[in-house]
């Protein structure tokens, strides 16, 4: 029954997508060859279904009944149309060897996709968010998880499948995109007159370990690759036919690319650029349709987190939900992956796979030969598209981020191989001629074909999991098993996941011990797809980072307010005072644990008339005025001139000293004091403060825990690999916490 519900959830989602695409194509009276129409209908229909689920999620109408009713009506209407038009897909003949390779990898991927979902990001946030939306019947206003702010076009398809077949149904939907991508490549090869190149390229992509792994779990990269390839495909068809109606799917796919993943924004520019080159008048309607698929995500973020492109662009759209420092760190980390040199990238991407989280297979060492495809018009177009879709790779050099460009590279490479081998084969016809009619094999001798077939076999063998294990890095991300028993649920989901996934065990511990409605703070990512509890992961949001800063304060000396900076001056009256930071810091933020103002030797009590402000991060300014040593206002950006903390007394106030209690980690900051007089004029009061050390003489552990408790956090999850984990374990009594349970190296503490 479980397997049946999973298969139903996935196939129903795919069928509804296909149905919507078919209905759209019928309405537009578009004409493709049979198989490509089915494939393109699925991808375009998936965009439409995703948009519909967005509307349902926004109105909290995502219910099983609604989805089934809507789906049945869509499928019914489209099947009727198919029967009337007698359009059934006709699978191309691709030869026994390629068919055998496809079959072998399809079985491998299908079983893995059907097995319980335990991929790191899939279980943590792709399906973590989906599970939350499923529980709430729509979007959840979540400001403490940056992943909730990313566009989630594919996740909404997952949501559709999840409600019917749970986690594995979502993974199978993604697998559906992988199959679609391979078949589209075969179709495109036929369309441009190089069917064998299309088949070879499809296998280059399909067998590739990182693509197969990604496409068998609830990730989104392969789906994005399919969407981008479909966009390219339809654009090329439009260029052949100049049928204006084709601009509708072009617009849908361009907009949906962004809805799938931010990094695919380049697809919009690609499509518009192509149209601008070919026919300027086509640009506006395509842009208008694309905006329909982009705008919902921009609006959602703008309304909920004050930043339409959150979690990026936080300098342009300052907000209290994502810190600039996080964004900067994220960008830096994603660009380096701890590589010693960028020259390691080709080997890492093709053979090793240990550093860049996956690899495409040794065959892709031949990628430079793809440039030979520049000789062919089709090759030039493929390479141009591949280059554009590879641009986001500059921002994240993980192997997954190259997947959208790989189908284009693979096709170019296959074309180039055929071209070069044909040129080298005596008496062979050059490929550098206009392609023959669609589906017709070119006049090649057997030599290039046999050679490319050899490469296809080489690729298939070297990418097969047991062979790849012989040469790839042991830590490379790839499929390593054939979990048939788990896939068929002969071994229960719980038993399989408990055995294989530490994150699952942790999530279930949280589910068991944290009461419903209570949030838990965690230093590490949790498989949120398997718990309904709200998890505040230390780095996934501004609020979480503040909690983490508080917890680390007692155990990281550099965080503690161990320095006092004092401005003393002749007594004067001011309406406002502000402490201004005046230098550019190389690698430290500015922070203030407490700002105190004195008059005649006594500290002025903080008055309700005072109005506090800070730039940047005005939302946390209260933390510098709360008399708590473990909390502090931070700039959450490198210290820069012009940053300030300001107190508006609401009236003239006589003062003669101001002190800042600050920490060693902000040692680069230099400050001066300014005041506003009765006339509203700002002037410098003092710029040479006296600094003195202020040792922390009492452990602040309990104080930090109390701060979390005051913020409604009673549960803290600490993994043995987290900084400070030993401290929590050995000194839990000093923290005022007790350990409730331990699972897979993570301890769940309760703040008494």
């Amino acid at each position: 029954m479980i397997v049946a519900s999973i298969l139903f959830g996935a196939s129903f989602t795919i069928a509804v997508s296909w149905a919507l695409g078919t209905l759209l194509f019928d309405w537009l009276r578009l004409s493709f060859s049979r198989l490509e129409e089915w494939l393109l209908a699925f991808v375009v229909g998936a965009a439409c279904l995703s948009e519909i689920v967005f509307v349902l999620s926004a109105t909290h109408l995502v219910r099983r009944g609604v989805l089934i009713a809507f789906g049945l009506v869509s499928i019914g209407a489209s099947v009727r149309s198919v029967i009337i038009r007698k359009k059934r897909p006709q699978f191309p003949k691709i030869g026994w060897i390629p068919a055998g390779i496809f079959a072998a990898f399809t079985i491998l991927y299908f079983v893995n996709a059907l097995a319980p979902e335990m991929s790191p990001d899939g279980a943590a946030y792709h399906l973590g968010m989906v599970a939350k939306y499923a529980g709430a019947r729509g979007f959840v206003h979540l400001t403490t998880n940056i992943y909730a702010n990313l566009s989630e076009g594919i996740e909404l398809l997952f949501l559709h499948a999840f409600l019917l077949g749970r986690h594995s149904a979502a993974a199978l939907v993604h697998f559906g995109f992988l199959v679609t991508l391979a078949l589209l490549m075969i179709c495109y090869g036929r369309r441009i007159g190089y069917p064998r190149a299309g088949v070879a390229a499809a296998i280059f992509v399909y067998a590739s370990p990182v693509i197969g792994t990604d496409g068998s779990i609830a990730y989104i990269d392969v789906a994005l690759a399919a969407v981008l390839f479909a966009l390219f495909y339809v654009l090329q068809v439009w260029d052949e036919q100049r049928d204006l109606r084709l601009l509708v799917p072009v617009g849908i796919l361009a907009g949906f690319s962004y809805a799938v993943k931010y990094t695919a924004f380049v697809a919009v520019f690609y499509a518009l650029g192509f149209l601008l080159w070919k026919r300027k008048r086509a640009v506006l309607p395509v842009a208008a349709i694309a905006i329909l698929f982009i705008a919902p995500w921009l609006m959602k973020n703008w309304l909920w987190v004050d930043n339409p492109v959150s979690p990026f662009g936080n300098r342009i759209f300052p907000n209290q939900y994502v810190h600039v420092s996080f964004e900067d760190y994220f960008r830096r980390a994603e660009r380096s992956y701890d590589l010693a040199s960028y020259f390691q990238i080709p080997w890492q991407l093709t053979v090793d796979g240990g550093r860049l989280v996956g690899f495409f297979g040794p065959l892709f060492l031949l990628t430079p030969f793809a440039l030979a495809a520049l000789k062919l018009k089709a090759g030039r177009r493929l390479l141009a598209a591949g280059m554009v879709f590879a641009l986001p790779y500059m921002f994240n050099i993980g192997a997954r981020f190259l997947i959208p460009a790989v189908p284009f590279v693979a096709l170019s490479l296959a074309l180039a191989l055929y071209y070069m081998l044909s040129e080298l084969t005596p008496g062979n016809t050059s490929l550098n001629k206009p392609p023959a009619c669609s589906g017709q094999t070119r006049g090649l001798s057997n030599v290039p074909h046999v050679a490319v077939l050899g490469l296809v076999l080489f690729h298939a063998v070297t990418c097969w999991p047991s062979v790849a294990g012989l040469y790839a890095n042991p830590y490379a991300w790839r499929l390593i098993g054939f979990p048939l028993k788990a896939a068929m649920r002969i071994e229960s989901e719980d038993a399989y996941l408990t055995r294989r996934s530490p994150e699952y065990s942790v999530a279930r511990m949280v589910e068991r011990l944290v009461p419903a409605g209570e949030p838990a703070f965690s230093f590490s990512q949790v498989a949120e797809a398997y718990t309904s509890r709200k998890i505040l992961v230390s780095y996934m949001g501004a609020e979480n980072e503040v909690l983490c800063d508080i917890l680390w304060n007692p155990i990281i000396g550099g965080f503690q307010a161990s320095r006092v900076v004092r401005f003393s001056f002749p007594s004067r009256e001011f309406r406002k005072v502000r402490v201004l930071q005046t230098v550019w810091a190389n690698n430290s933020q500015w922070s203030v644990a407490e700002l105190r103002i004195f008059s005649k030797g006594s500290e002025l009590p903080r008055s309700s008339e005072w109005r506090l402000n800070a730039r940047p991060n005005p939302w946390d300014v209260q933390l510098a005025f709360d008399n708590a040593l473990v909390t502090r206002w931070r700039s959450w950006d490198l210290a820069q001139p012009g940053m300030y903390i300001e107190v508006d007394f609401g009236r003239l106030q006589e003062i003669d000293a101001v002190t800042l209690e600050t920490s060693e980690d902000g040692g680069e900051a230099k400050v001066r004091l300014e005041g506003m007089d009765a006339e509203g004029k700002w002037s410098a009061i003092a710029s040479q403060p006296i600094e003195s050390p202020r040792p922390i003489t009492v452990s602040q552990r309990r104080a930090a825990a109390s701060e979390l408790k005051a913020r409604g956090i009673r549960y803290v999850l600490v993994n043995k690999d987290n900084a400070g984990s030993d401290d929590f374990r050995l000194y839990s009594n000093l923290w005022g916490m007790k350990c409730l349970a331990e699972a897979a190296g993570s301890r769940l503490y309760y703040i008494d």
Binding site: G557, I696, T697, S699, D727, R729, L730
Partner: protein, 135 residues
């Protein structure tokens, strides 16, 4: 602040030169420079306390021992023990030697080691307790 060697977590505080075992024990043999990590909950008004024993059989071989007590690599005191048996050391620790964020290291340097005639293994003293207490 005080690590009793009978604590189940005691070994988590060991840095070096303490002979560990998987069995539950009340004390541990040390080597030349037993070192522990111990957290000071506060920094002011604390004293270092170490309880240990000098084995009488070993003492016959080594004679009087001189032990140097260090806190965060600073020498707190050097004491000469003229007889075997249970010993107790305590001495106030200056506040600025300690921190509350990280554990302080407490080390005891032993000038002479007992060498077991059977296997040549070397031993220092028998440690039962070490840590900080309020004065």
């Amino acid at each position: 602040m005080m690590v009793e060697m009978s604590d189940p977590d005691a070994q988590a505080h060991f840095v070096r030169d303490i002979v560990t075992t998987n069995e539950k024990v009340q004390w541990y043999w040390t080597a030349q420079r037993p070192t522990l990590r111990i957290l000071a909950v506060e920094t002011e008004g604390l004293k270092l306390v170490v309880d240990f024993s000098i084995w009488d059989v070993g003492f016959k071989q080594t004679g009087p021992l001189e032990l140097s007590f260090f806190v965060n690599e600073r020498l707190l005191d050097k004491v000469r023990y003229e007889s075997p048996g249970a010993k107790h050391f305590e001495k106030p620790v200056p506040a600025d030697w300690l921190k509350t964020d990280v554990e302080s290291t407490v080390a005891i340097s032993i000038d002479k080691l007992y060498t077991a005639p059977q296997d040549g293994a070397k031993f220092g003293v028998i440690l039962t307790k070490a840590g900080f207490e309020r004065r």
